[in-house]
Point group: C2
Chain length 166, copies 2
């Protein structure tokens, strides 16, 4: 539907979910802010390997949604809801990475990239379950049965390598 009213609603603030790409931007800002406190446009561009112009565009959109404090030619900071949203994405990322590296024995680089892509597609329900599973496996009281370790053995026996076909 492309009615006038709809377009007004859409352009005003847009309370819809963030796109994968905008999630990437806030996550990048979040991580950069954690490192060296001040975040500039170029830092984001470098990290995400996009042009500076793309960053400007994204920052405008994020500002519209009140997720970043942004003023042309100024430093970038996250607003409080922005930080919350970013932390959520980063959290998904870390849970997925941990799951892949520590339980599935996927190699770090592959896991890193896969987590980057999957973090946008899995809802909190699935992520929650994965987190619970990590916790379950990690918890000592498996009456002596270490799932991760046993799985590693299993893979070795079956000749399942870290890097696979395709």
């Amino acid at each position: 539907m492309n009615t006038v009213e709809n377009r007004l609603i859409m352009t005003k603030t847009k309370n819809t979910k963030l796109s994968a790409s905008l999630e990437d931007y806030i996550e990048a800002i979040f991580n950069l802010a954690g490192k060296d406190k001040t975040v500039r446009s170029t830092d984001i561009a470098k990290r995400l390997k996009v042009s500076k112009a793309s960053v400007t565009g994204a920052l405008r959109l994020l500002k519209e949604r009140k997720l970043v404090n942004y003023k042309p030619y100024g430093l970038v900071t996250l607003t409080s809801p922005g930080r919350k949203a970013a932390a959520d994405v980063a959290r998904k990322h870390n849970i997925l990475k941990s799951f892949m590296v520590n339980l599935l024995y996927v190699d770090l680089d592959t896991a890193q990239e896969a987590a980057c892509r999957a973090e946008h597609t899995l809802g909190s329900d699935v992520i929650g379950k994965i987190l619970a599973f990590i916790e379950f496996v990690t918890t000592g009281s498996r009456n002596g049965y270490d799932v991760a370790k046993e799985f590693k053995k299993f893979c070795k026996n079956k000749n399942i390598k870290t890097k696979m076909n395709a």
Copy 2:
């Protein structure tokens, strides 16, 4: 680079990876073909909940890549490489779904949708590991320790429900 030569190369076949959306289309064709043998444009449109015009567009692109046999106003079939590509996507889908439903106890609908989205983002390496993990857990010789069942108990104790926040 938008040189004339480049554009020629691009329009000729485009050997790059399929987009998520094109993967959805071949997967849909694959599944429909399995069910009632002949596949028409409308079937695809209904299944993917897109317009018939979008299907036409996708079929043109898939034909360019020689993944479907397609002729305006004709039936749609997969070529041999198309079938291979489709089967691969479907396989990922099933592995992910099985993992979520049978191990993580994610409810079926959520798993179905999450698998749909994640199947495009996870490489064969990660999928292979997940498959191995399913096999590992399913295999009887866990010296009496049923990982899935124990995890279910664990969730119950921790009050982790299928449907979670956000």
